[in-house]
């Protein structure tokens, strides 16, 4: 009896390959059933996200299963070109370790991201609903979730934001008491300012005012963010009521200078003001950040903080591996002592192929 995983991720395969062999969520159950029918696996689960496609399984004949899974991947997706070169394969100890590392976010593009845990949970649930999991995979996935929880609470691997947008929101949360009553002004529409505004919105920012030289673009973004659009000339009049400014205009010179800001701060009665300048060349004079109650961050500041957070997460990796190793070891011990029982169970089932798989699942 062997555990086996075959798949590819963002490091081994480019997006052109990943998108061709990914499994749409709606058809995952169906795909799992056809996988079990085509491949000599007793138990199976398919994990398919934008960064990875992996098949986990339990088999009595690892080398035959390996070839069959590879063939299945090609045949199921009707691939003409081989993706063989991008695939990796792990067995037993390595397979367990890999799943635990994936679930803990150590194998992700952004180390420590937590979205993957939900995705693994979903993949497991789909496989379970399709009746494809049994004693071994049930236990393996439960172990993976337990390890993820342990690693998350015992290390700082998920700490600190790693993208410009979320770093900006973290800062906003440390300046303002609650974002719900705050007004955000988006000056100039760009991909980055849009993403930042969206993150602020999703974390509860009150109202959003979008202001762009092209009224049409302002209105489109405003409607997406459930905010209101104003014409470019209006921004100074709206400014005193604003708490957060995300600026990314194409202006060649600073549009907000110290001279302009000083009287505005008086009008605002010195309420804190968070200026996010993601334009290059910069929109806001650096000296504005020296005014009291004004907090100015430009694109470099935000990127630097994101980099520091990534570096801090990377320092946690060693500790994470140590914790994961403990969980892997415990699972391997269990797997070793239950190998016989698994063999017996699946030998019986092979003899009596008419017995529904669910019965085994419940028995476990």
């Amino acid at each position: 009896m062997n555990l086996i995983t075959i798949g590819l991720n963002h490091r081994t395969g480019p997006v052109e390959v990943r998108e061709r062999i990914s499994f749409p969520k709606a058809k995952l159950g169906e795909a799992t059933c056809s996988l079990l029918a085509a491949v000599p696996l007793h138990e199976a689960a398919i994990l398919s996200t934008c960064n990875r496609v992996e098949i986990y399984g339990l088999t009595s004949d690892a080398s035959r299963a390996s070839g069959a899974v590879r063939r299945f991947l090609h045949e199921h997706h009707g691939l003409i070109e081989s993706v063989e070169a991008h695939l990796y394969e792990f067995r037993d100890h390595e397979c367990v370790q890999h799943l635990l590392e994936v679930t803990c976010g150590l194998d992700s593009m952004v180390i420590g991201e937590t979205e993957i845990l939900g995705q693994v949970k979903e993949a497991y649930l789909m496989a379970q609903q399709a009746g494809a999991t049994g004693m071994a995979l049930n236990r393996l996935f439960q172990k993976a979730f337990a390890a993820a929880k342990h690693v998350r609470t015992a290390t700082a691997i998920t700490r600190g934001s790693t993208s410009v947008g979320s770093v900006a929101v973290d800062l906003a949360e440390k300046i303002f008491r609650d974002l719900g009553s705050r007004t955000v002004m988006v000056l100039g529409t760009g991909e980055m300012s849009e993403a930042t505004a969206r993150t602020l919105r999703s974390r509860g920012a009150g109202s959003i005012i979008v202001c762009s030289r092209t009224q049409e673009r302002a209105e489109t973004l405003a409607s997406q963010l459930d905010g209101c659009a104003i014409s470019y000339n209006e921004w100074p009049t709206e400014f005193p009521a604003v708490d957060v400014v995300i600026s990314s205009t194409a202006a060649p010179h600073p549009i907000l200078t110290l001279e302009k800001l000083m009287p505005l701060m008086k009008l605002r009665k010195q309420r804190p003001l968070f200026l996010i300048d993601i334009a290059v060349p910069r929109d806001i004079e650096r000296a504005c950040g020296e005014l009291e109650n004004v907090y100015l961050y430009d694109i470099d500041d935000l990127q630097q903080i994101a980099q520091q957070n990534i570096a801090a997460r990377e320092r946690e990796i060693v500790g994470c591996h140590a914790l994961i190793a403990e969980h892997v070891e415990r699972f391997i011990v269990w797997f070793g002592s239950n190998r016989g029982a698994l063999e017996k169970r699946y030998a019986e089932r092979t003899r009596d192929a008419s017995l529904p798989r669910e019965a085994h699942t419940h028995a476990s």
């Binding site: 440390k174 300046i175 010195q270 950040g289 109650n293 961050y297 801090a312």
Partner: protein, 271 residues
């Protein structure tokens, strides 16, 4: 156990809280158990702190405000009381970790450097005297916690201004929240001090004596905090300047109290 024994034990708990704060900073707050543990440690410290006041009050047969030592300890007790009330109701994270070192330091000064002898003159039993003194002490407790929140504000504000975010960045609350709590504490303290002073005037009419340094001290504190209120409300000062003012004001009030009681110990002894 002697009353001072209870206080030493309380200080042991406050010192533990300081150690936990350092641990939390090192762990970047990744251990949620440390936060809960710190709350428990602070509550234990507060319970022993209360025991000190209770036993001391029992021993002297009145509200334990007989000398500069127990008055100082009473002020820190009030500060911890406000921490327990505000920290839980406003969910101010890391407030306890900042309160503990201040309380520890002030109590150490009280135990080691201040006179802890019973007053020489017979004490008034008028409830007004007790009331005005106790409420004024609560006011100073609020000012002490305003000092703490002011300090937290300055730490967090500095990180935001210099863009150097240390491990305390995520643990500390937002500067706006600290600003609001700091101001509310000053308003509360000022209100109680005013009531205390009115109570003091009434008790003067009943008892008929006063101690000059203490009156000067109370009026000075009242004027200083009145100035902070004016600065905030009328001059629209916010944030950093108010935080600094609240810290300087408390430091000034505390130091002059110790100075004044040193002077008055020659005259009256009782604060």
């Amino acid at each position: 156990m002697s009353d001072r024994g209870y206080l030493w034990l309380a200080l042991l708990f406050y010192a533990t809280s300081c150690a936990l704060a350092i641990l939390r900073l090192r762990e970047c707050g990744s251990l949620p158990a440390l936060r809960r543990l710190n709350s428990v440690v602070m509550i234990c410290g507060f319970a022993l702190h209360t025991m000190f006041l209770f036993v001391r009050g029992h021993n002297v047969g009145r509200c334990p405000l007989t000398n500069s030592c127990d008055t100082t300890v009473f002020i820190t007790w009030a500060a911890v009381l406000f921490y327990l009330l505000i920290g839980s109701s406003y969910r101010v994270s890391f407030l306890g970790e900042f309160t503990a070192p201040l309380v520890l330091a002030i109590c150490l000064v009280a135990l080691l450097a201040l006179s802890d002898t019973p007053p020489a003159q017979p004490l008034s039993r008028s409830p007004w005297v007790h009331f005005h003194a106790a409420i004024a002490i609560l006011a100073y407790g609020a000012f002490a916690l305003a000092f703490v929140t002011g300090g937290m504000y300055l730490v967090q504000e500095r990180q935001l201004k210099t863009r150097q975010l240390s491990s305390s960045f995520l643990l500390l609350p937002s500067i706006e929240q600290l600003d609001v709590i700091n101001f509310r504490l000053i308003v509360l303290g000022f209100g109680m001090l005013t009531v205390g002073m009115v109570g003091g005037m009434i008790s003067y009419r009943i008892v008929g004596h006063w101690t000059t340094p203490k009156i000067v001290w109370a009026v000075a504190a009242w004027l200083i905090y009145g100035l902070v209120l004016v600065a905030r409300r009328v001059w629209s000062l916010r944030g950093r300047k108010i935080a600094l003012m609240s810290m300087v004001s408390f430091a000034f009030v505390l130091v002059t109290f110790w100075g004044a009681s040193f002077l008055s110990s020659a005259q009256h002894g009782s604060p």
